[in-house]
């Protein structure tokens, strides 16, 4: 049973526009959420995280929003750049991380 879901396998966005990546979860015991970025043939790298007691966390061009009642989080990238093209995984934590299936983001120049 997939506890963390990313329902969009792929997303294409024009350079300079906003990219919005979505993630849903089912386990209400998760208390931290993280986003990782992965390039081909490399390991995932940590991008941004949010505690369940917050609803927003911002770091430069990246903002994560959490809606606990809907069990939904999203990652906003503004403005999108070609180097943002990668696979993005959301992950939820209850001591160990459970990952979603990933969304491949392509930024179109």
């Amino acid at each position: 049973d997939q506890q963390v879901k990313q329902n969009s396998p792929s997303l294409s966005v024009q350079e300079g526009r906003i990219s919005i990546l979505n993630c849903d979860y089912t386990n209400s015991m998760f208390d931290y959420f993280l986003w990782y970025k992965k390039y081909p043939a490399e390991g995932p790298t940590f991008l941004i995280s949010i505690s369940s007691i917050k609803d927003k966390n911002e770091d430069g061009r990246f903002t994560v929003f959490l809606n606990k009642s809907a069990k939904h989080l999203s990652l906003h990238i503004v403005p999108s750049q070609p180097g943002d093209s990668a696979v993005y995984f959301c992950a939820a934590s209850d001591e160990k991380l459970t990952f979603g299936t990933g969304t491949r983001l392509t930024i179109i120049p």
């Binding site: 993280l34 390991g43 940590f46 991380l97 990952f99």
Partner: protein, 114 residues
Amino acid sequence: DVKVTQSSRYLVKRTGEKVFLECVQDMDHENMFWYRQDPGLGLRLIYFSYDVKMKEKGDIPEGYSVSREKKERFSLILESASTNQTSMYLCASSLWRVSGNTIYFGEGSWLTVV
């Protein structure tokens, strides 16, 4: 910077062979993990360890075992490799056993079983 090193980047093994995937971290982290990544399935946890000589099953432990004799080293073992174990394997480590603790990944090991 945290460094998680997976010794083999690309391996090709035959069905039935015993395979060792080695992982070393240099930041004195307590926790180490092995994941596999498959298209459409994301990252799935195979085994993890919170201390030397400790190991716990993740979500898909079948067909795998692990060894952690030293704090910095965590090995994944495929006792008898099968074609459905062809995948990218990712080792990771983290400092504390608490929620929200960021884990750091190695660059991955691509295993092909023929």
